[in-house]
Symmetry: D2
Subunit: 284 residues, 4 copies
Amino acid sequence: MCRWIAYSGTPVLLSQVLFQPEHSLIDQSLHARMGVETTNGDGFGIGWYTPDADTPAVLRDVGPAWSNRNLLEVADHVRSGLFFAHIRASTGTAVQQTNCHPFRRGRWMWMHNGVISEFHRIRRDLALAVDPALYPEMEGSTDSELMFFLALTFGLPEDVPGAVARMAGLIEATGRAHDVPLPLQMTLAVADGERAWVFRYSSEGRSRSLYFSTRVDTLRALHPDAAFLRDISDETRLVVSEPLGALPGAWNVVPESSYGIIQPGGEDALHAFLPSEPHASASS
Amino acid sequence: MCRWIAYSGTPVLLSQVLFQPEHSLIDQSLHARMGVETTNGDGFGIGWYTPDADTPAVLRDVGPAWSNRNLLEVADHVRSGLFFAHIRASTGTAVQQTNCHPFRRGRWMWMHNGVISEFHRIRRDLALAVDPALYPEMEGSTDSELMFFLALTFGLPEDVPGAVARMAGLIEATGRAHDVPLPLQMTLAVADGERAWVFRYSSEGRSRSLYFSTRVDTLRALHPDAAFLRDISDETRLVVSEPLGALPGAWNVVPESSYGIIQPGGEDALHAFLPSEPHASASS
Amino acid sequence: MCRWIAYSGTPVLLSQVLFQPEHSLIDQSLHARMGVETTNGDGFGIGWYTPDADTPAVLRDVGPAWSNRNLLEVADHVRSGLFFAHIRASTGTAVQQTNCHPFRRGRWMWMHNGVISEFHRIRRDLALAVDPALYPEMEGSTDSELMFFLALTFGLPEDVPGAVARMAGLIEATGRAHDVPLPLQMTLAVADGERAWVFRYSSEGRSRSLYFSTRVDTLRALHPDAAFLRDISDETRLVVSEPLGALPGAWNVVPESSYGIIQPGGEDALHAFLPSEPHASASS
Amino acid sequence: MCRWIAYSGTPVLLSQVLFQPEHSLIDQSLHARMGVETTNGDGFGIGWYTPDADTPAVLRDVGPAWSNRNLLEVADHVRSGLFFAHIRASTGTAVQQTNCHPFRRGRWMWMHNGVISEFHRIRRDLALAVDPALYPEMEGSTDSELMFFLALTFGLPEDVPGAVARMAGLIEATGRAHDVPLPLQMTLAVADGERAWVFRYSSEGRSRSLYFSTRVDTLRALHPDAAFLRDISDETRLVVSEPLGALPGAWNVVPESSYGIIQPGGEDALHAFLPSEPHASASS
C-alpha cells in the first residue's frame, strides 16, 4: 500500500502541493485514511520536470517522508509544472532507495500503488519477459519497477495505454498460469515531461482508490473566495490516491478500469482500460 | 511520545520479548494504542548487558523499528537478562542517532518517554546546570539526554532515586521560573547492569502510561498452560509503556508519582516519588 | 578536515561546478590532495540561493558525497548563481545531518574547514557566550555550528567581518584561558544571498589551504580556446579548499589572515583579518 | 574492490579482530593498501555464528564502516568463533543494504571480492541459470549475490568446492559466449557454521590478493612474547584480503587458483581450484 500524487499545471513550489494542503500527502505518510495501511513510512520519492533538462529529477530516500528534511528543503525551493510524489508502505520487499518510486528511464517517470499478488511465485517469469537489453537496468526488487520495465518492453514511449495494457495482460496471463486468482492491483501514473497518464485497474474490479481534481474554472465558480484558485490555470490538475484539502466539489473518482491523459491545451478525457494479450501486439 | 520496554530476569533472546508477543513493541512502532501518537517511527534503540562486558551494548538507528533488518538480526541472535528497548516519536527535535534512546554512560543506561514542556525556552538554563566536566559529552539535542546528564550531575551512580528527584526538581523550578505551567512529563528507566529503576511522574499528575508485569509464579498459578512461563524465573519482570500480549492478570499500573526497583533476589517494591530541591542535596 | 567550494556568478547547473571539473569536489571526497585526511566521507551538504525564495535551500546527508544519488539528481537539475558545497571528514563528532555544513539561519549560510583545538574542554564556555535567544536553535555538536552561532551573537547580519573577528577573538581568549596553545584553525565561507565572504585564519599562522579563482576576463585572455569561459560572466568566482581543473593561471592563494568579499558589480578585494576582543564591540 | 576477513577459532570479541589490530579491516575501509581502490566506504557487513542459533546473524549497513557506531557496539559486545566481515567499494551497483556482504541463506554465508566483467551484459543469462525456486529470493543487484545463488543452484550445501567450480565455469562460459575476454575475478569465503571455505581465482590468473594466517603454535614459537597468541587455540585462523598487524611470519599468500578448508580438528590444506562445466554435474 502506498499513496501518491501527480500534479500538472501552473508551475508551483512543490511544498504548496505536498505539504501545505489539509491532509497533505506528507500528512498521509503518518495518517492515511483510505489505504490498507494507515502508515506509509517505508521510503518516499518525488520527481519533477524543469524546462531546461531532458530528464526529470528524482529524489528518493528510505526513511519516512514526514521527518525528512531534505524533502522539505527541496519542496520549499523547487518549482515545477509537472511532478510526482509517492510515499511507500512496503508489501514485503526491502526498504531501499532503488525500491522507491518514482522510477525513471530517460524522460519517463512511473509510480504505482498496488501489488502483483504472490509476486515471489511469478517474478521470474515476468522478469524473463523484459527486453534483454533492459534487464540489467533493473536495480530494485519491487513488482512496481518490474511493471515499468515490462511496459517499456511493450512500447511505452510509442503507445502508453497500449503498453500498459500489454503489461497488465502479461501479469494476468502469467498469474493465471500459476493459479494466482487475482494477479493485479494497480493505480499508476506515467509521464514523459509533456503529458501524464493515470490508470486505475485491478483483476477483481475493486481497485485502490484514485481521484482527479475538478477543472479549476469550475471550482472557481463554486468557490469564488478561494484565493489560491486564482493563481493557477484552468487546466491545472491533481490526481491523488486520496483527497487533499476540504474544498467541496474538488474531487472525482477515477472509475474502475479506466485511464486518463493530462496535457496542456488538451481535452481531458477518461477512457476504458482493459489488459490485452501482450504477445500479439508487443512492439519488441 | 515514545514507547519503551525494560526487561530483567532469565536471559532470553531479545526477539522473544521485542518481536514475538502479540502487540509487541515493534508492532507498537506502527500501531501504538495508548500514546498521543500512534506511530513511533522516528528512530529506535536497544541496549543490553552481557556477562563479560563492563558496559551495555547500545544499537540505535534513525529509521522505523518495524522495517529495520539489523534490529531483527541482533534480536534473533543476542541473549540478555537485562535489556531496554525504545521506539521514538519525535516531539520536534532532529531524527538522528544521538537523539535515540537508550543513552549510555559507562555502565549506566537511560531511556525516557515524555517531554519537558517548552524545552526550547529552558534548555539553556538546564544545560548550564550540567556538571561542566560532563557538558561536552552531550551529543544530541533532546530533553531526554539532558535529563540524563542532569541526573548524572546530581549523583545518579550513588543514589538513583535521589538524583532523579533532584533532576525533576530542577526542571520543575526552572520551568516555573519561566512561567511554564506544567514543566515535566516522564516515564523513565535507568539501569546499571545489576538493577533497573523505573519512574512515573508528571507535573500535572496525569503521567504517560506505565505497567509492570505480575510476578511469574503468580501468573503461572493463574495460567498453568502457558508454556513460556515455565522457562523463566519467578522474578522475571517487564516494565512497559503499554501492555504486550493477551494474558489476563499480567499487567499492573505503575501508580502516579512512584518508582520501583527491579533486582534479582530483591523484593520488588513501589515507592513514592517526589521532585526535590536540587541545590540543597546535589552531589556536585 | 573538510573540503568546500563557494560559487558566485552566472547561474549554472550545480553539477557543472561540483561534478564535471577534473579533480572536482566530489572527486575530492574520495581523493583529496591537500588536506590532513584524503577521504572526506563523513557527510556532505550543498546550499543554494534561488531568485524567488527568502532563504537558501540546504541539502545535507550523512553518507559520502561520491555515492549519493540525491546529490547528483539535484546538482543535475538545479541552477544557481550563488551556492556552497561542503564535504566532511569528522574530527570526532557524530556523523549526523545536523553536523553537516552548510549551516543556515534565515538567509544566512555558513561553512567551515578547520577545528577548534581541544573543543571538548572549551565547548561549554563558548556555548554560554551564545545569545540565550539563539542557544536552543543549535542542533548539532560541532565546533563549526557553534562558531556560526557565536558570529550571529556578535552581529553577523550587521557586520560580517567584525562578527567573525569577535567570534575568533573569543575562541582565542577562551582557548588561552584553558591553556590551549593554538585554539583556532579555519577557512570559512558566509553568504546572505547577495554577497559571500571568505576567511582564512589560524592561531598558528599556518592555515588550511584556500584558493580563489582568477577573474574570468583575465582567464579568457590567457585561454582563448576554453569554451566554458565564454558562457560565464567576468565576475564569476570560485573559492575552494583545493584547486579544481587544470587551467594554468586559474587559482590564487588566499593569503594568511585575510578575508575577501565576493559581490556582483563590486570590486573584489582582500583585506587583513585579525581576531578582536569580543566583549568590547559585541552587538548583543 | 572490497576487503574482507574470515575468522575461525577460539571465540573472541569481534572487535579484537576487526578494530584492534594495526591496519585493521576498519582502518582498511579508509586506507587499504593492496586494492584497486584505497577507500572501501560503500557499505559493510559482519556475520557471526553463535552456539544457540541455527543461522548466523548478519549486520549490514550502507555507510562507511569507519564511522558506524552500531558496528563498534556489536563488535565490542559479541563473541564468536566463526565470523566474516566485509567492507565494500562499489563497482557501480547501488549502495544499499541488500548489496552488502555477507549474504546469507539458512546457515550459509557468502562474501566476495572481485567482479564479473561486463556484468550488465551477462547478468540476465546468469540470472536465468538460477534455480527458479531460488530466483525470487535475490534482493540486490550485485554480481556477488548472483554468484551465491548460482552456487546454491549448483549444490553448494552438498559439495562446496564443486558448486563453486560449476558457478565459476558457468560465468566463464557465459562470458566467453558474449565475447568478454576475462569474465571472472574472485576471492570468496563461504561458511556453514562448522567450516569455512576460501577461494582465490581469476580468469586472467592474476587474482585479487588473499592471505591466510600461520598456525598459531608456529607463531607462538616465533614470537614467545606475543601475549595475545597465548589466549587462542593452535587452530585459530584468519583469512584476509590484506594482512593485519605487524607480526613477521604471520601471513601466507593463498596461491592462485586454489581453495582451502578451515575446520576445527581438521588438517588445513590448500587444493587446486578450476572452474568446471556446470551443466554436466549440476545437482539441480
